[in-house]
């Protein structure tokens, strides 16, 4: 009959077209990625002494829930598996191995802490699993030659210090600089970054350095000794407890240097109030994200969008906790990378796309700051803006400065 062949032909043609179409849509997949799902692994300290950072993991879970509600990434749902490592590196090793070998995740994302990440860096690079957007400020994550599968996200301490150096060179070219730093990799990174930023003027401009141990009861003698050097710029690379002491002592001795303070100690509650808010006026630091407690950002549409997300997807989160803005921003970066992967969801392509981010703007980054990477540059955020404490809040000033190594 005349009908049958054409139905058969029609069905065959349809079948071929569909198969061809599916073959085109069918992606290349590494472990953890399918037509419908992308598995992402993460560890966070949900218990133990660093558990306040667990809020970041919860924010990320909430963000991916929102993305899934909106249809996922290129039609694929995000399966975000986040486990507790209590900030204990042996546990991190165990959980990461489980994520890679048992859960078969496509990549690990925003693992938190320098020791935890150090513990698993060798394993992840040996097994060619992306260790993407690690949540620590150490500089060593920007080393694509030695560790091509590891990438940081936030500006490292060295980047921040280079920015201070550039500010000094531009505005205080005849400065005599004193540095007080914590005697570990965190503090030393500031000293190294400052020297890198000052270049060949470093030796001439840095007139005195003093260090302290976290076990020291006070840092008064160090401050006095630095004042005696005749310096008129002071860089303090310290954690809040000691930053408060430094600010107090500097005020008490009557020394009035241009005081640059590491970003980790800008908390009004943890560092400035103990020192005395009036004694902290004029201190300069640097930031890269919008302060979510600052009224001038709270009237912007970007903040309102973030707030709406918090209220719907992360209602247990504290809207004054910067960790929730951090988790939001770094998740957005990952989604952008995954979108760029399209249907090629192999681990190699994930790293390739992560290493080719061009000027990505995120809503909660300060205006003028964007995310950029390249195959030789694994530091996604290299810019910061300076801010000055006016007695109540931190006021941004000046241009956005880059801390990229020149």
């Amino acid at each position: 009959m005349a009908m049958k062949p054409s139905i058969v032909t029609g069905l065959t043609m349809t079948g071929l077209v569909l198969a061809g179409g599916l073959a085109l849509a069918a992606g290349q997949y590494g472990p953890g990625a399918t037509d419908t799902e992308i598995k992402i692994g993460n560890t966070m300290p949900y218990s133990g002494p660093a558990s306040s950072y667990g809020a970041i993991g919860k924010a990320e879970t909430a963000y991916f829930n929102m993305i899934n509600d909106q249809g996922g990434v290129n039609g694929r749902k995000i399966n975000f598996i986040s486990r507790d490592d209590s900030y204990s590196p042996p546990k991190t090793v165990e959980q990461i191995r489980k994520l890679v070998e048992e859960d078969q995740v496509l990549l690990t994302f925003n693992v938190l802490g320098t020791p935890p990440n150090t513990a698993v860096q060798g394993y992840l690079n040996d097994n060619k699993v992306p260790q993407l957007f690690v949540a620590t400020g150490a500089d060593k994550w920007n080393d694509p030659k030695a560790h091509p599968w590891t990438m940081g996200w936030q500006p490292s301490y060295r980047i921040e210090a280079r920015i201070y150096a550039r500010y000094i060179l531009q505005n205080l070219p005849k400065a005599k600089i004193a540095v007080l730093y914590q005697n570990d990799d965190f503090g030393k990174d500031y000293l190294i970054g400052l020297r890198e930023g000052l270049g060949d003027k470093a030796d001439k401009m840095i007139v005195a350095t003093q260090s302290y141990e976290t076990t020291d009861p006070t840092v008064d003698s160090q401050v006095v000794s630095l004042q005696a050097s005749g310096a008129d710029v002071l860089l303090t690379a310290a954690i809040p407890k000691f930053a408060a002491q430094v600010i107090r002592k500097v005020y008490d001795t009557g020394w009035k240097p241009t005081h640059l303070l590491s970003n980790v100690s800008t908390s009004v509650k943890a560092a400035l109030q103990p020192a005395g808010l009036d004694k902290s006026i004029g201190i300069i630091s640097a930031g890269y994200g919008k302060e979510i407690t600052d009224p001038k950002w709270q009237s912007t549409p970007e903040y309102k969008e973030w707030l709406a997300w918090m209220q719907k997807y992360n209602p247990q989160g504290n809207i004054a906790d910067a960790n929730n803005a951090y988790g939001y921003g770094v998740s957005q970066t990952l989604i952008a990378v995954l979108k760029a992967c399209g249907n090629n969801l192999t681990r190699e392509n994930v790293m390739k796309q992560a290493a080719s981010i061009h000027d990505l703007k995120l809503p909660l980054l300060l205006p003028g700051i964007s995310v950029s990477t390249s195959p030789t540059d694994f530091a996604p955020i290299k810019q910061m803006q300076l801010e000055k404490f006016d007695g109540t809040t931190w006021e941004m000033f000046g241009p956005v400065i880059s801390g990229a190594a020149s």
Binding site: S88, P89, K98, E102, P115
Partner: protein, 346 residues
Amino acid sequence: MTKGFAVVVPDRTAAGQYAGLSLGAWRLIGALALIALAAALPFFVSNYHVFELTMVMIYTIAVLGLNILTGYNGQISLGHGAFFAAGAYTTAILMQRYGVPYWATVPPAGLICFVFGVLFGLPALRFEGPYLALVTLSMALAMPQLLKYFDNWTGGVQGINLVKVAPPAGLGLDHDRWLYLLVLAVLILAIRGAANLLHGRTGRALVAIRDHPIAAAAMGIHNARYKTLAFGISTLFTGVAGSLAAIVVSYVSPEGYGMFLSIAFLVGSTIGGIATISGAIVGGLFIEFVPNLANDISDAAPAALYGLAMLLFMYAMPLGVVGSLAPLFSRLLRQIQARGAVPLGK
């Protein structure tokens, strides 16, 4: 007269043998079978499970150390995590700074921890019960900070990254399975050593000191010497465990040896059966698996589940798993031995 039970047991001959072998020989066969099973196990499970089981064995050795001190000798310690860390860092420093091969770092780690244990055990003689607990707790609290302070040696906050161990060529073993077998060998040595110690004169002296110190002294046991020795031997075991852990994880840092580790050892020890040797295995299993299980079951309150698990175990088996089950097992053995015995008067 025999009470009937389902197990078919060959009759005991007059010479005290079962099917041609003495009870002791059967025990040996049983032990060898267990060892063979343990050695074969890694070849039937995935790499990740091999890693987990290796950690179980390491924790078993650590808990065994604690059992010797707290279970058999009655000296409570809330600070064994510090000795675990000491062993780990000894290995790490020897490997990284002095290039010592990994297997050669284990005896020095044990030795150094033995010396530390004896040095600690001497002043600890003055303390009993809760006061000793507090003193040992102080060690657990101090250790991470001490590790951060002496950062010239310990690498401070950044820790020490160790070279991944390469299995010996020609054995056809991968990294995980080689380490599993190595740790298994050390575990067997540790159990044998503990058994020899605890089932002999020294063990009896330790138990006597635990139960009746005055009577023990009156019998001629040198309390101070045995108590200090118990401390040293205990920390030797835990230090060796720490050393092996550093080799397996390939990284040491102060955050890995916080106060909770010491508590976890005591929990595992108590739940397994604090005055037993095989209880240490249960303890090792508990330390490795229960926190992860709690996490899998509940995102919101895994610590509460962990506490609940502890409570349930303690309620059901107050003497620990092995501690509570061993008497039942002994009864079974005695009934087996009683079968076929010639009754008196006949």
